[in-house]
Symmetry: C2
Subunit: 347 residues, 2 copies
């Protein structure tokens, strides 16, 4: 049914029209190549006439690079994922690569989506969401397509990747709350299968238990990694009158923390941090808006993307099990206004 697309002009066509060799056409389109001004102009004129543009993919057949990288992101309603996707698009574009974007909304689909990705001639796959099955790892290894994990890791460390120090993030939030006098803690957790939520919860708990907080002083509810679910579940918890209320809430991601903040202030009429303190993690832009000014740990997204790029540039290392790197970068504590700040030490 569909008509065939008009054939692209080839470098051969351009060479013939310009009266030069095919190699000269190639040089005319390569920055810094040695070619006379006159010849370059003839090539460009012919190329223009024939609507010729050098096809990066065609030229990649010899270098085995397409300059396309598949980036698999999670639910884009979470600003952390949309901000990560932005950072990939802009960061990769600067290095001459383009992002072929794949979205996984349901964890169960992850495997299927990553398999879709290998259908395309991508140089590499960056996985920011989705569990990785061993079957998939076999396919990509067989095809020689390297995989880098972003913001998550396997316990085995068999896959290269970069993530934030999430245990450290949880511990740092616990420290800020504990030193501000909190005694009854509530964790609003995200996806229990994901390493990010798990590590943050663990870091938070471990810090508090080590400071003598009894296990009964640390409650946990589910925020399902979303604004709405967190808002609903925190409101329900506070309206349940049978238990003492927590005085400090750690929502393990900012988008959940914003849901909690709106539940506390708007739905329950409570003051934050006056009545209850609250913090998140990720450092998304929404949390930085004046109306929220959320206390949080910022993930160094730009640095994480730059690190991912470096890993892709030494792609051969990614195929060598002895060279696989799993980097953990520190997050940055952002003292917002939702956890009381310690009185400043006088110099």
């Amino acid at each position: 049914m569909a008509k065939k697309r008009p054939t692209r002009a080839t470098s051969h066509d351009v060479a013939r029209l310009a009266g030069v060799s095919q190699a000269a056409v190639s040089r005319a389109f390569s920055a810094g190549s040695s070619i006379s001004k006159d010849k370059r102009e003839r090539v460009l004129k012919a190329a223009h006439e024939l609507h010729y543009v050098p096809n990066k993919l065609a030229s990649s057949l010899s270098t085995a690079r397409s300059n396309m990288v598949a980036v698999i992101v999670g639910n884009l309603n979470n600003p952390f994922y949309s901000e990560s996707l932005q950072a990939f698009v802009t960061g990769f574009q600067e290095s001459g690569r383009q992002v072929l974007a794949f979205s996984v909304t349901d964890a169960a689909d992850g495997d299927e989506v990553v398999q879709q990705a290998v259908y395309y001639p991508v140089d590499a796959i960056v996985v920011t969401a989705a569990p990785l099955s061993s079957k998939l790892l076999k396919i990509s290894a067989g095809l020689g397509i390297p995989i880098v994990m972003f913001n998550r890791h396997l316990d085995s460390n068999r896959i290269a990747g970069v993530h934030c120090d999430n245990r450290g993030a949880g511990a740092r939030i616990a420290e800020a709350m504990h030193s501000a006098g909190a005694e009854r803690f509530l964790i609003v957790r995200g996806d229990p299968e994901g390493s990010t939520s798990r590590d943050r919860v663990e870091g938070f708990r471990t810090y508090l238990l080590a400071r003598g907080v009894p296990p009964t002083g640390i409650e946990e509810i589910d925020g399902a990694s979303s604004y709405g679910a967190s808002r609903d579940s925190l409101r329900a918890r506070f309206r349940a009158g049978d238990r003492p209320r927590p005085d400090a809430i750690y929502a393990v991601s900012d988008i959940m923390a914003l849901g909690c903040l709106d539940a506390l202030r708007t739905d329950l009429g409570l003051r934050v941090p006056g009545d209850v303190m609250l913090a998140g993690s990720d450092g998304i832009r929404q949390g930085r808006l004046s109306a929220y000014d959320l206390t949080t740990i910022r993930q160094p997204i730009e640095q994480m993307v730059a690190t991912t790029l470096q890993m892709l540039e030494s792609a051969e290392d990614l195929k060598n099990p002895d060279m696989i790197q799993v980097l953990e970068l520190p997050g940055e504590f952002i003292p917002g206004s939702t956890v009381p700040r310690p009185p400043r030490d006088k110099p």
Copy 2:
């Protein structure tokens, strides 16, 4: 330097190992094809052993479709663009297409970025930002790559596209403010070169002038399409004591309106809408958060993406000047709490 990627197994390799014809391999991977269960299983087993996956691009050589669509987005710090990108990624993926993302931060780079896009074997280019030069239109026409404009349009209507009724959006905001009793209006404009800001400003002005508001009652300042610039420039305007203050502010995009709202409440200590009313346009998620609850006009992003898809599916029409469609969809008025609502008519 870089080693060559291991060669992908071909359907020929799979056919040989499975002891079937190449056509059988193709049928085994096509949903609904007629092939015996036994044969299909042999093919899948062989494919698995050889790490073979059907290469969509290779198969697209015959159908002239790659199932990749270049989407060129503007500054991703504006949530409208990141939400649009999300809608494209998820909407296109559902239809079996993947988004190859390009970002244009500086309007001047637009032309160059779109030219990058044609280097890839994309089926089409969706332009949500970036001016389109006639040179570029020639190249894409010559290559038979259709272009669809999203959220902007040329006065000539020579390029297919879909956008929101932005004049209508500006007029609807003007109506809400005028009927709430506003008398002195301030417009915070975005990119004066973009059709979106221009049309919204025009719709707003035209409505008010027709209602007898004098031209001197409509002031205009520049918000440079960003949160920070709008916040700064509104604060400066309100601190300049030499002119009467406006009582109604229309920031032509939500991200600018949020900057204005934080300037008014946080920096200037004013009540919104008590001291001054404010509205935006776009309907971004941040504006819907309880702490802002911005009065706005929501662009029907999902519907606009679906319309773009329909246009791409009748790609032949896009090449026929007589069939070019430029669709304008109505926005939805979202009565937030930043413009006083009219008293409800009693039934």
